[in-house]
């Protein structure tokens, strides 16, 4: 236990207001530099200036005193505001909940119950990361319902995450583990966030030594791998080779779109006379380069590992994000393979979850993709981490067939032949199966897709039929889960089969909700089994699935 999760009020990192206003500070700096650039050029290179700048103006009007006074007042106001904001921004972690109080004029007090935690995310944007600070975000279900602690010292954030997850897991006594055997890392000297609010700052002695330590600690943190060694197995279960990552981004639907745009552009230039197309498309093409680069850097240094408290997914080269999803927080899993990835045998895994991290660029791309690109064996390893009950052989074989089988009698209830009117290519493969606490929906033959919905997380089931499907004695089915990139729908299914699906899936959902204990996922290992199969890190068994 770090001293942050002791039920007392604590303060954040003292530089938090500055770091939170990071963009604003840089904009201000940019504004000042832009206005004084000639003066700076003069100062550095000795090239004489030609025209005046605001400083000359002030000097000529004899308002130097006033200008200095104004600058001093602004500085003092900013300083006071920052100090106040820091002093008023406190948080508390108790056994039941995490609370944050903030605001100077408009006070806010937010409290989140620990057993409702959907995920704990540690984000290190580039600039705070250079200063050794990190943002810890506790997501709970709902719109804008996250509890943010921005910013904490990097090591403290890691420690607090461990404590939060341990408290939330319902394991009352401290667990014996490698983390508790290792000595606590000494906190950086002079970090008041560690001390209870109101206590004096650290001693002044040995300041130079502390500064030295600080610098080396920063460098160490910056270069260290994203997974902290005490809370996760040191190795990520999946590695994405650089070439595969580049390939996966190049062979995407977006590239087709870009290629069409380029062709349109070339044609319009050759034909001539339509400059508007050039104006319309060219900026978009330049922006698409930015999109590629951002996709690339976001997926770089990807890591996924099982911990005792769920799956930990890490991303990012410069700005890093590292999210822990406790067991039972994943509402739907989609494993997809676009046509262009088929020759390489690559797959992508995305999930639906109830809590959404607010700070993830690229339209939530990173937040819901747990495996950007991976081979079939990588998929098996990741599914073993995120899907309860996958370790058993029978459902594993079923998932294997769900991914690659062409259809037929393979454990899935497939659509009948007459469905070819509506799904001319994929009707053989369009079907569902219920196994090991999850519903599997399989569809698509050009772009293959397998959707897995854990029954305990399923919200409701619907079956629909319009006039066309009625003539064909077909229906469509949909499993309702929380919103996300994965949609669990089945376009064609036999009428009788649809009715059966409604009954069996509903019964399964009721039964597995009764036996579900994932709101306190570790409470069961106090009296029974040591750890649920869902969170066991991938062992050598995962390799056996490799085709």
């Amino acid at each position: 236990m770090t001293s942050l999760a002791d039920g007392d009020w604590h303060r954040l990192h003292p530089a938090s207001p500055l770091l939170r206003g990071g963009i604003f500070v840089f904009a201000l700096l940019g504004f000042v530099i832009a206005n004084l650039r000639e003066r700076l050029v003069d100062l550095v290179f000795g090239i004489p200036r030609e025209s005046g700048d605001p400083l000359d103006e002030i000097y000529e009007r004899g308002a130097v005193g006033w200008a200095l006074l104004a600058a001093a007042v602004i500085l003092i106001v900013i300083l006071i505001a920052f100090t106040l904001s820091w002093r008023m921004h406190t948080f508390r972690v108790s056994d039941e909940s995490v609370e944050v109080r903030s605001g100077i004029l408009f006070r806010s007090h937010r409290q989140a119950r620990l057993d409702r935690i959907q995920g704990v995310n540690i984000v290190r944007p580039l600039i705070p990361r250079l200063f050794g600070a990190a943002k810890l975000e506790v997501s709970v279900a709902g719109q804008d319902a996250n509890v943010q602690l921005a910013y904490l010292g990097s090591a403290l954030a890691d420690g607090l995450r461990r404590d939060l997850l341990q408290l939330a897991s319902g394991a009352r006594q401290p667990r014996p583990g490698p983390g508790d055997l290792a000595p606590e890392t000494p906190p950086p000297a002079g970090d008041p966030a560690l001390m209870p609010a109101g206590s004096p700052l650290a001693a002044q002695a040995g300041r130079r030594q502390a500064l030295n330590d600080y610098a080396s600690a920063r460098v160490g943190e910056f270069l260290a791998p994203e997974l902290d060694p005490d809370a996760a197995p040191p190795e990520s279960v999946v590695r994405i080779p650089l070439l595969r990552l580049i390939g996966s981004i190049v062979f995407s639907g977006f590239t087709v779109f870009v290629a069409v745009a380029i062709v349109a552009l070339v044609v319009s230039v050759i034909v001539g006379g339509s400059e508007w197309l050039l104006i319309a498309i060219f900026p978009g093409l330049i922006a698409s380069v930015g999109y590629y680069i951002s996709r690339f850097t976001k997926s770089l240094r990807y890591s996924i590992a099982g911990t005792r408290d769920g799956v930990r997914v890490g991303f990012g080269l410069l700005t890093t994000s590292n999210e822990t999803l406790p067991p039972g927080r994943i509402h739907a899993i989609g494993v997809t393979q676009p046509l262009a990835w088929r020759p390489f045998g690559w797959w992508q895994i995305s999930i639906n979850k109830a809590g959404h991290s607010t700070n993830d660029g690229a339209a939530g791309q990173a937040a819901t993709t747990v495996l950007p690109v991976g081979s079939l064996s990588d998929v098996a390893k990741v599914l073993e981490l995120i899907l309860p009950g996958f370790a058993i052989d029978e459902p594993r074989a079923l998932i294997q067939r769900g991914l690659t089988s062409r259809g037929g009698d393979d454990g899935f209830a497939n659509a009948p032949r007459r469905a070819a009117w509506l799904r001319p290519f994929s009707w053989r493969r369009t079907g569902y199966a219920v196994s090991a606490g999850a519903v599997l929906l399989r569809r698509g033959v050009l772009s293959r897709e397998l959707v897995l919905v854990p029954l305990a997380r399923l919200q409701s089931v619907g079956i629909n039929q319009g006039p066309v499907r009625r003539r064909l004695r077909l229906a469509s089915a949909r499993l309702h889960t929380v919103a996300g990139p994965v949609s669990a729908t089945l376009g064609v299914i036999d009428v009788g089969e649809a009715e059966r699906l409604l009954e069996t899936v509903t019964a399964g959902a009721v039964a597995s909700a009764d036996s579900d204990t994932s709101h306190h996922w570790s409470r069961q290992d106090i009296d029974s089994t040591p750890a649920p199969a869902a969170v066991t890190p991938a062992g050598p068994t995962a390799a056996e699935v490799t085709p």
Binding site: Q118, A141, A456, Q459, G462, N464, R470, E499, L502, V510
Partner: protein, 202 residues
């Protein structure tokens, strides 16, 4: 579950409903609509094992009709303005087409209202609606996040209320319109009670 928690919930059966109750697959001899008439036997989506469906109040047809008539008036007004003032002849044709379709759907309104049904089963709420486009939804009680009761102006005059069963999934869409106000309140209390006894997290 030891006892079947079918609520004693009076006044929810509307005897005026002539839509056949769900029976065994072979017994749907009475032709319900044209779509069923042309489709082969058993093509219609139905839940043969499901029990008696509770129907919504026949008075709800009035609410739908008033809404449709308002829509019709607006369409006519817009089309008429475009045609007479701006001399756009196509607007008259489009307006007439929309009005025709609306009138046909107005004629089907009573049947569509009769197709709305729900039943409280042991562990889940079953909901159905639609004739041409049928939809069945089953929601386990434990997934309830909240129950919403709303009353529109026309429905309030007729003493009706709409009940909405909200889960964490936006797509669930279980909304039972046109319940008598007392029934809606009783059903809400019953649902909350059932959900409480089968509490599941998210």
């Amino acid at each position: 579950m030891a006892e079947q928690p079918v609520p004693d919930y009076p006044g929810s059966e509307y005897p005026g409903s002539d839509l056949p109750a769900a029976g065994p697959p072979g017994s749907d001899a009475p032709v319900v609509d044209t779509a069923a008439a042309v489709a082969p036997v058993g093509a219609r989506l139905d839940l043969p094992e499901a029990g008696e469906w509770k129907r919504v109040s026949p008075k709800y047809v009035m609410v739908e009709i008033v809404g449709t008539v308002f829509f019709l008036l607006i369409v006519c007004a817009v089309a008429g303005t475009l045609w007479l003032l701006l001399d756009l002849v196509w607007a008259a044709w489009v307006g007439a087409l929309i009005a025709l379709i609306t009138l046909i759907s107005l004629a089907l309104e009573p049947r569509r209202v009769r197709s709305i049904g729900y039943q409280l089963r042991a562990d889940d709420l079953l909901f159905r609606r639609g004739i041409m486009y049928q939809r069945f939804v089953s929601v386990p009680y434990g997934r309830m996040q909240l129950v919403d009761i709303t009353r529109g102006p026309v429905a309030r005059l007729l003493g009706l209320a709409d009940l909405k069963f909200v889960t964490a999934a936006a797509t669930s869409g279980v909304a039972i319109p046109g319940l008598a106000e007392a029934d809606a309140d009783a059903l809400r209390d019953r649902l909350v009670e059932l959900a409480e006894s089968r509490r599941a997290g998210l």
